[in-house]
Symmetry: C2
Subunit: 336 residues, 2 copies
């Protein structure tokens, strides 16, 4: 269910094509297609506004029996808030288009919206509209979220420079470890680690506070959220910044416990999707100041490598092993 | 394909429930759930901003073989621009979430975006982002559109008052007449009238210019777009305005030609969906001034009745016949 059919071109290529051919320009538009979200400045407004959208389809992005409707609502909004977090802006408003099969009734709908609004409340986002319709095949959700900068600060993918340290919040591969459990039929979790993995997959925490703090400090270079796996999103950050990267595998904050249920924690940390952590760069001269000032109340972050002049993403194992290329093989809807 | 399964509650009822239970409030939010679009004022901005979203599903809202991908892109955006037109605001930006089965390739995608952007260009809207994914069952499109007021003018559904004249732009029932042809297997159109009906269904023209003009004149009371059929959308306008309505059937600008292929033009004018005309009210003392000043370059409009103190929507046939209640039976995703 979670792997796609073959296709001639990857999602990245198609998005670039769409940007070149159909992307528009306007004075008030600061960033169109191509970053985590689009950025515009309403004439006269003090702050810039950011808009993002994501669609989740049953059978492609989730399975009906793998989470409650509350968890589905939570996760659908989390994906969008994570895009706003990746720009370092404050969530403001969101709309929800929901299509449901006729077998689904009002209590399901109420629970779904309960999940949405409980996450929204944490981050100050308000439901302002939507669309409700019937579907013939499963549940489909599409959310659009609007964010606002604070003191005009914003971070883009393209802000990285060769020499920057690369950091990531939290740990990587935990959501993929939870997905693995679900695929094995384990929906409850017998141990604490299993429950943590399932929770990460079903109820991810978008790093809005961390993103906002990073934008406010004016220390970070480029930023992106890790939604499709580190290998893919780091490639995106590098391409946007005109840089390459070298990461140290021993430094990757992986979810080691998944080894106990048959996963390779390193593999999941590199290529597993939906962790919704933030991946960002800090200029070399500022890393010490950054690390000293990073608040304890926020999700801890770890330096995992640095941006390089040479393009491409490489890794070293940290124990004197050789330098190898990291394939870009996180989640791609359009790759074979 | 275009009629829904039975359900306990109607779309209107569910939306009211969601508004009461999950709708939020914030100083900068002027209108949340409940109108054609939500309205907010970015702090410091001169103008108010409006956001709307609509989802279209293959097999529910359209059939793959009934229009080209260009026409599908056009129509998907037209639905959203019509919501902006109904508030009298200028289209600015839009995002597109698109999910497509693996059999669909790049030329289809390019044609779809061509349709979107060709309509967008007419009304000054710019594609600023989106989401692209695979679907297992047909094409799914979800657009979110942002509009901006001009000189702070905006029109709401709730602006109508008893005594107002009720007007509608263009004609009603033409899109439904085109849908009827498609359902009969007529996809080309042998006569001019058939081609006009098919064109109305496949490539509807959102009344953005008319809506903007109406908002600028400060003559209109309440406004809504006719997307789900006159009977349903007039009921919505009335409920929001705390009024009823009496319409004169002989005045309805119907698409008479559909009678030649077996439709009842009056029936389609009352209950057919997707015309995307504007339905608005003009206070009694201003109707003469309104009619005298309405520009010829805009789609003509017709007075079809008036708002009443007594709730409910009624019709008279205009030839001395008796007053009858108009059932609210336009298009509803959630009604049996």
């Amino acid at each position: 269910v979670f792997r796609r059919k073959a296709s001639a071109s990857s999602e990245n290529q198609i998005v670039r094509f769409l940007e070149e051919r159909f992307g528009g320009r306007r004075a008030s538009l600061e960033m169109g297609i191509g970053d985590d979200a689009a950025v515009f400045r309403p004439p006269g407004a003090e702050e810039r506004w950011v808009v993002t959208t994501d669609m989740l389809l049953e059978g492609v992005d989730f399975r009906a029996d793998w989470q409650t409707p509350e968890q589905l609502g939570w996760k659908a909004l989390a994906e969008n808030l994570s895009d706003l977090a990746a720009m370092g802006v404050r969530p403001r408003f969101y709309t929800v288009a929901l299509a449901i099969p006729s077998a689904i009734g009002e209590s399901w709908i109420a629970a779904f919206y309960q999940g949405l609004t409980s996450l929204a409340k944490i981050h100050g986002a308000i439901l302002i509209g939507g669309d409700l319709s019937r579907s013939l095949h499963g549940v489909q959700v599409c959310i659009a979220a609007l964010g606002e900068t604070l003191r005009r600060k914003i971070l883009y993918r393209a802000g990285g420079k060769a020499g920057d340290g690369i950091y990531v919040t939290g740990s990587l591969g935990r959501s993929a470890a939870g997905l693995f459990l679900l695929e094995q039929g384990c929906t409850e979790g017998a141990t604490l680690a299993e429950r943590l993995a399932l929770e990460a997959h079903r109820r991810p925490r978008p790093r809005c506070r961390e993103g906002l703090w990073l934008a406010q400090q004016s220390l970070a270079g480029g930023m992106i959220d890790v939604s499709d796996g580190l290998s893919m999103d780091l490639h995106r950050l590098c391409r946007a910044s005109g840089a390459g990267a070298e990461i140290c595998l021993s430094r990757l904050p992986r979810f080691e416990a998944s080894g106990s249920w048959g996963c390779d924690p390193l593999e999941l940390a590199l290529h597993g999707g939906e962790d919704f952590e933030l991946l960002f760069s800090i200029p070399a001269g500022k890393t010490a100041r950054f690390e000293a000032s990073y608040p304890r109340r926020l999700e801890p972050c770890t330096q995992i490598g640095r941006l390089t002049r040479h393009p491409g993403v490489y890794c070293v194992d940290g124990r004197g092993g050789r330098r190898r290329r990291v394939a870009e093989r996180g989640f791609d809807h359009f790759r074979s």
